[in-house]
């Protein structure tokens, strides 16, 4: 279930990623990455001996200051999960990882749409779920209808 922090750290160090932080949290092992080295990090994880070839999920969280994007990876051969987390400023862009994990194709579009981010390097970067002109819904500043509004409908 939980991979070894030191093993992942050393694997990433040997792949030339010296600045990444690997930490053990209650959720699991989280690798924090800069936006710029995300692609390199993910392909290093995929090609490492741990074989994180399977992307379980990809989602964003609005922390109130910036948007954190989490890539949930799994190694089917070792049955281990690891989370890669990167942060993006509001209205900023993030790179598409579809060439490393094709599973990211649609979730990436969803994250870009729901948090108002720009997606670079994606073959089909259209909106996925909602129509044009809607506010990025999962941002905390976008309110849904309150109880009073619902009642006064």
């Amino acid at each position: 279930m939980q991979p070894d922090v030191t093993a992942i750290t050393s694997a990433l160090r040997s792949a030339g990623l010296t600045s990444v932080e690997v930490e053990q949290t209650s959720l699991g092992v989280i690798v924090r990455a800069q936006n710029a080295e995300l692609l390199q990090l993910l392909s290093a994880l995929r090609d490492s001996s741990s074989e994180f070839t399977f992307m379980v999920d990809l989602f964003g969280v609005d922390t109130g200051e910036l948007v954190e994007i989490t890539y949930h990876l799994r190694s089917l051969s070792r049955d281990e999960d690891v989370y890669v987390r990167t942060s993006v400023e509001y209205d900023d862009g993030f790179p598409s990882v579809w060439e490393i994990y094709p599973a990211a194709l649609m979730p990436e579009r969803e994250v870009a749409e729901m948090f108002g981010l720009k997606l670079s390097g994606h073959p089909n970067p259209k909106r996925l779920l909602t129509t044009d002109g809607l506010e990025p819904m999962l941002l905390k500043r976008v309110e849904i209808r309150s109880a009073e509004e619902v009642r006064s409908r």
Binding site: E143, S146, A147, R151
Partner: protein, 161 residues
């Protein structure tokens, strides 16, 4: 290796067997299914033996309802007894989850078995469960849960956001 086509013949045999089992459908408006005891449909107020609604206007159900379909309009008298002006219910938005009934500390509401809910007039989708009735005084005054009634103010703020 089976003969090509034996599966087709077997399929015909199975569908004929099913045909001979007879129809399982009910002719709905003429025949009706009996609902199991737990079936959840509209919310109805419950009354005591004299026909007085047993709602104490505590507002737990209103705070619990995920879709805000219940609303209480209550005036508090000088002797701190409450008077329910309207206990309104939006049938059209209710999803019959039953959380209000579970939350009710005095069993004043229940999920009925009334499932024929089609309406011609959309205005009838919102109606009052209880109108202009003094709130029921429970025999034993006790907080229903250790948590919810203790901080009613903060909980309602959380709902309104």
């Amino acid at each position: 290796m089976k003969l090509w086509g034996s599966g087709l013949v077997n399929g015909l045999r199975i569908s004929m067997r099913n045909m001979r089992r007879g129809p399982i459908t009910l002719q709905y408006p003429f025949e009706k299914l009996e609902l199991p005891e737990r079936a959840r449909w509209t919310v109805v107020p419950l009354s005591d033996a004299q026909g007085v609604p047993v709602c104490t206007a505590c507002g737990t159900c209103v705070k619990t309802c995920p879709d805000h379909v219940l609303a209480l309009d209550v005036t508090t008298n000088e002797d701190r007894s409450k008077h329910i002006n309207h206990f309104s219910y939006q049938l059209g938005a209710c999803m019959m989850c039953g959380l209000c009934v579970e939350a009710c500390p005095f069993s004043a509401i229940a999920m009925s078995h009334d499932y024929e809910l089609a309406r011609v007039d959309p205005d009838t989708l919102e109606y009052d469960l209880i109108t202009d009735t003094p709130a029921y005084k429970p025999k034993r005054e006790k907080p229903a849960t250790p948590d919810a009634p203790a901080q009613p103010a903060s909980a309602s703020e959380g709902d309104a956001s």
